[in-house]
């Protein structure tokens, strides 16, 4: 049974208009900037917000179809992890997790049993008796996760389920979440900001901007061939639109590139920041692109330094700390950027 959702929702000046399908066992990640409508889409699928037009159905079981059908959330068999947890403050952690099984008719002992085993899975068995207010932010998020998963819903909706977890716990919970998703065979819709979470957990990524789908596909495909600036920044690629003619691409916003494979018509041009070399003087040599730039911004990452460069076109470069010292990189410094033609990917726009 496949989840089909054709969602149109109007909220003030904002309009959400997108179509989604999620197959059994499939994990679809909804990725998009703040305010893109990810949470709105998730609420519409959960039944917390009726759609204004369109349809939500699980195969032949119609959940929402104006103006006739509207199945309330408690009869949809969905599990939701909310962005700000929404744990019940008056119940203990264990009772929070046992709430779903209880509400679906399980007896108290059985529900607690189930809840306890889930708390173990998320590593919080020892906090079972605590109140949500006494939990740290990350602990609360893990309880919310357990609470949604314990009912083994047909559709699992996760709104930034890992956002509040720290790096070390995240690794663990992410992989155990991955295992569980693989196990239960349901349909998962995952809203996240973190491209890594999406890449690791999702079978398919749907990129939403301004309430609309701008790109979708397998994680590797999206990562390799971003179609908007947002996606490019997300996956850490330099991305430009241009018009190809042979091995030359004239960029829409100024600048030109020489590429390895000849093409024609509108194309995307992409290359990773690590492919960019920085030099104090212009560099010569066959199939190589080189143009003057100015340092806008320097950020030290764990192992590399990312340099934002203004120019025609602007570009991101990843360099080693040694290069930073050698070139005395600091905002305002004029340099030359160079990219080998073989490093530049082009694909139809």
């Amino acid at each position: 049974m496949t989840l089909h959702a054709a969602l149109r929702v109007d909220r003030g000046t904002f309009r959400l208009d997108l179509t989604l399908t999620v197959e059994p066992g499939e994990v679809v990640a909804l990725l998009g900037p703040n305010g893109a409508g990810k949470t709105t889409a998730l609420r519409a699928v959960a039944g917390l917000l009726p759609v204004d037009a369109g349809q939500v159905r699980l195969d032949e079981e119609v959940w929402d179809e104006p103006p006739t059908v509207f199945v309330p959330p408690e009869r949809r068999g969905v599990g939701v992890v909310f962005q700000d947890y929404l744990l019940f403050a008056h119940l203990s952690v264990l009772e929070n997790v046992a709430f779903g099984p209880r509400a679906r008719g399980m007896d108290r002992a059985g529900a607690r049993e189930r809840a306890r085993s889930w708390l173990e899975r998320v590593g919080l068995a020892d906090r079972a008796a605590a109140r949500p207010r006494a939990l740290s932010g990350g602990q609360a998020q893990r309880v919310a996760l357990a609470r949604a998963l314990v009912t083994e819903p047909a559709v699992l909706l996760l709104d930034e389920p890992l956002a509040a977890l720290d790096a070390s716990t995240r690794l663990h919970v992410r992989s155990s979440l991955g295992h569980h998703l693989a196990e239960y065979g349901g349909r998962t819709l995952l809203v996240t900001h973190d491209p890594l979470d999406a890449m690791v957990l999702a079978d398919r990524i749907v990129i939403v901007e301004h309430g609309q789908v701008v790109q979708q596909g397998a994680p590797a495909e999206v990562a390799r061939r971003p179609r908007t600036d947002y996606v490019a920044t997300l996956v850490g690629l330099n991305l430009y639109r241009g018009l190809a003619s042979g091995t030359t691409v004239r960029l829409a916003d100024g600048g030109r590139f020489t590429v390895a494979e000849p093409a024609a018509g509108p194309v995307h041009v992409a290359f990773p920041p690590s492919a960019v070399g920085l030099h104090p003087e212009p560099v010569a040599g066959s199939p190589r692109n080189s143009w003057p730039v100015t340092v806008a911004d320097v950020e030290q990452h764990a192992h590399t330094v990312r340099v934002r460069l203004a120019g025609n076109p602007p570009v991101l470069a990843d360099v080693t700390p040694a290069v930073v010292a050698e070139l005395r990189l600091s905002p305002g410094r004029p340099l030359w950027a160079a990219v080998k033609a073989t490093e530049v990917i082009t694909y139809p726009a």
Partner: protein
């Protein structure tokens, strides 16, 4: 805790709150000062006082239960649904509050009395007659006290975040389960406040009770009725009875509230 978590109470709050407290409590001091202490014991012997006190507590508690059963759903309806004319309904709920209690009693007689709109059928078909019975006392008290519960609970419901009900729904809870297991506990402070108001108002009810249920010792003579009648002949006894009523009600409230709201802040 050793030191206050957040500095001292500001004067602008402390001053009026103390004046307010004094305003509510000094009259009580006046009563205590005037109480016939020397003869208090002898004035309070006799079975009537105990009888009236027991009747008062019983009827007020039953009336409160009735108000909870009918009033909490009503409050929910007013707070959480999109009923047309909700604003007017909400205002109409306050009617028994504004009505002078004696008129309220008359209104109840007009409806539930032996010849009342509804009462005549109750009487003819089921042989049930509420006036002059203990059940009538409960009905009169509930009528007068219910608005307090409804309005206080509605206010609490409006202040509660409805997204928790949404979370419960996604966990499979019907509206009823979500209401009982999520909403109700989260509005507990407001509900307790409303219940206290309701119970206390029912306990102090006089006008509607005597008009609708009459006054017969052991059956419908609650403490306020006893107090009122004592006032006619023996103000000292009336004050003594009032003090008994107050002590008992304060004791009940102190012990119950501690149990209901536990160690909450």
């Amino acid at each position: 805790m050793r030191r206050p978590t957040r500095g001292r109470v500001p004067l602008l709050v402390a001053l009026p709150s103390l004046v307010g407290l004094a305003f509510l409590l000094v009259p009580l001091v006046g009563l205590l000062a005037r109480a016939p202490w020397s003869t208090l014991g002898t004035r309070l012997v006799g079975p009537e006082v105990g009888q009236a006190l027991l009747l008062s507590l019983t009827c007020a508690s039953l009336a409160t239960v009735l108000c909870l059963v009918l009033g909490v759903p009503l409050a929910w309806l007013l707070a959480r649904t999109e009923l047309p004319g909700r604003g007017v309904l909400r205002a109409l709920v306050t009617v028994p509050l504004v009505l002078p209690p004696v008129v309220g009693g008359v209104a109840l007689l007009l409806v539930l009395g032996r010849r009342g709109l509804v009462g005549q059928y109750l009487h003819d078909w089921f042989g049930v007659s509420l006036p002059f019975t203990t059940a009538g006392v409960v009905v009169a008290e509930a009528f007068v006290a219910m608005p307090f519960l409804v309005i206080a609970v509605e206010g609490a419901l409006r202040a509660a975040d409805p997204r928790f009900e949404e979370a419960a729904a996604t966990l499979g809870a019907t509206r009823w389960v979500a209401f009982r297991r999520v909403t109700l506990p989260s509005i507990m402070p407001g509900l307790v406040a409303g219940t206290v108001l309701c119970w206390a108002r029912a306990l102090g009810e006089f006008g509607a009770t005597i008009t609708f249920a009459g006054n017969f010792p052991g059956r419908t003579t609650t403490m306020p009725l006893a107090v009122y009648l004592a006032l006619e002949t023996d103000p000292g006894a009336a004050i003594a009875l009032s003090i008994v009523l107050l002590v008992v009600s304060v004791a009940v409230l102190v012990s119950l509230r501690d149990r209901w709201i536990g160690g909450a802040p």
